[in-house]
Amino acid sequence: MSTIDKLPLTVDHIPEDRRHIYDAEPILSARDLVITFGRVVGLDGVSLDLYRGEVLAVIGDNGAGKSTLIKCLTGAYLPDSGQLRLDGKDVAFRRPQDAREAGIETVYQQLAVIPALDIASNLYLGREERRKGILGSVFRMLDKGGMEKRAGKSVQDLGIQTIQNMGQAVETLSGGQRQAVAVARAAAFGSKVVVLDEPTAALGVKESGMVLDMVKQLRDSGLAVILISHNMPHVWDVADRIHIQRLGGCAGVITPQSHDMGEGVAIMTGAKTLSRS
């Protein structure tokens, strides 16, 4: 088996204008996460650091533990052992709701949007805002106008021009626009971390480009972004660092500058391994 050196990852593998990201403490760090399902080992001691303003891509073959890792970070699974620190504090998420309340938003592959509801209702689903005063407290009336206005702003902040009318039902939108709604929701409420699971998997070239632009927008606004993708050109386009999952463990962390796509895929599939010094 051949090995690729250029590891460990050093500051030389990060473009100069982006090095400042790594001066700060990681916003999210996982240490030695282990989870088993019966006799199957899902994660075998995986560690990960995530910094504000960076896009960390997670790649790996089917069954390598990408989704399991993400589910441990977002509260869908509770790891058997290992530590999770968010913004300097130890955390343990028992439900997705816990992670969400702590500032980690997830855009699921199946999007979790309600087709029959309009865009504004979808953006605020599960955290509706009520009107002020007696109308809100006694009659439980929703602040529809306010939510619609703020929804419009969230969508505009992401630079999405094709969506104008917040009262439009989501089922009348294209696949890319639906993805945009889901990303806008994560961006509007994710105060620290946004996790995107295969956001371009079902999209055409043009719509994929739009979604990748949104990912860059999220990163530039200071959020930490985790991007799970099978699409190597997309990963090499937007990622600052690339975490490679293999057989339940981390096969290494590379950057688009340190390794090319071919090498990344080779590590991912086990054709090559990263030498450790």
């Binding site: 997705p96 709701q97 969400r100 699921y108 199946q110 999007l111 979790a112 949007v113 309600i114 087709p115 029959a116 509801l117 209702s121 689903l125 599960g126 955290r127 509706e128 009520r130 009659f139 439980r140 009336m141 929703l142 529809k144 021009q161 094709t162 104008q164 439009q168 039902a169 089922e171 009348t172 939108l173």
Partner: protein
């Protein structure tokens, strides 16, 4: 630059819509428009056919006849909006009615207490439906098919199959059959209660988070859960509130029928489902407006009432209702395929 070409393209796309697509888009936004149109046509046809149809006294009777089914259909609507179905509507109403009446007559209870116990029992029956649907994860069709038989059997066993006439009941239980008139246009308090039920539930569905969740759970339960909607709690709530509504319908029915009869309104289940479906609410959940249900209930009763005024065989009414249900479901399927 890109935004101007984008909006120009959008403008172009809009111009390309055929009149049929525009109708589809309109019905997608307002599914109650087609039943409203149908109600209007039915009124016009009966008005032309028989001069006695559109008189104040006829209209009052039409509304009184619609009241019970319209009340039941409020509960049926919220259940169907969650992609469920409730076959136990009639059974819960009759059980609640028989308990109210017999507590008041045989138990000698004051009217108010008997009424409250009857409504509470109906609410409990709805809760049982909800628990079976949410805790044991049984399909609503099966759950309510089972409870239909169970509640009907309890009602028959409890009442011994006997009717209780209105004169043996306290005034409060008969009160919703009383009314007031403006000239020959007579309304009952039961109709007032039905209108209030529609107003309150329409407000809840369109203005509160709970209402929004009812639609969300019905449209896509899994996505709702991932979005932080407490799906099971919403479902449980829907079946329980539906039970409460059937209890109120029982009160309306005593006033309307002038008696508590264990085999009253035998077609309550189908009539309530028919009203909901004709009113434009989707049987697949997540779509529809409560106002459509009211229109749907009025349509069914208008056909029945109009045909009887014309002296036509009532079987034609069933034929017409059947055709309407099929057409309504077909329209629903069509408007679900709408594209912007």
């Amino acid at each position: 630059m890109s935004s101007t070409t984008g909006s120009a393209a959008a403008e172009f796309a809009r111009r390309q819509q055929s009149p049929l697509q525009r109708v589809q888009g309109l019905l997608h936004k307002r599914p109650w428009l087609s039943p409203l149109f149908l109600l209007f046509v039915a009124f016009l046809a009966f008005f032309v056919a028989t001069p006695t149809f559109l008189t104040p006294s006829s209209m009052g009777i039409l509304l009184q006849q619609t009241a019970v089914v319209a009340a039941l259909a409020v509960g049926q609507t919220i259940v169907i909006l969650t992609a469920g179905i409730d076959l136990s509507v009639g059974a819960i109403m009759v059980l609640s009615m028989m308990v109210m009446a017999s507590l008041a007559r045989d138990g000698g209870m004051p009217g108010l207490l008997a009424l409250l116990i009857g409504v509470a029992l109906a609410t409990l029956a709805g809760l049982v439906n909800g628990l079976l649907v949410t805790r044991i994860n049984l399909p609503p069709f099966i759950v309510t098919l089972g409870t239909l038989s169970i509640f009907t059997a309890i009602a028959l066993l409890y009442s011994g199959g006997e009717s209780i006439q209105a004169e043996h009941l306290p005034r409060l239980l008969n009160f919703l059959g009383e009314g007031f008139g403006i000239g020959s246009f007579r309304l009952t308090w039961g109709i007032v209660v039905v209108v209030l039920m529609y107003a309150v539930m329409a407000f809840v569905l369109s203005q509160t988070a709970w209402g929004r969740y009812v639609y969300a759970v019905g449209d896509d339960a899994e996505s709702s859960r991932l979005s932080g909607v407490p799906s099971r709690r919403i479902l449980l709530g829907v079946y329980t509130v539906a039970g409460l509504i059937y209890g109120l319908a029982a009160w309306i029915l005593i006033g309307r029928a002038g008696a508590a009869t264990p085999n009253a309104v035998p077609d309550a289940n189908l009539a309530s489902i028919t009203a909901v479906v004709i009113g434009g609410t989707s049987l697949f959940g997540g779509r529809g407006r409560l106002i459509g249900t009211l229109i749907g209930a009025l349509i069914v009763q208008t056909f029945s009432f109009g045909l009887s005024q014309l002296g036509v065989n009532q079987q034609w009414r069933y034929l017409a209702t059947g055709v309407l249900v099929v057409v309504a479901v077909a329209i629903d399927q069509w408007i679900r395929k709408v594209k912007a």
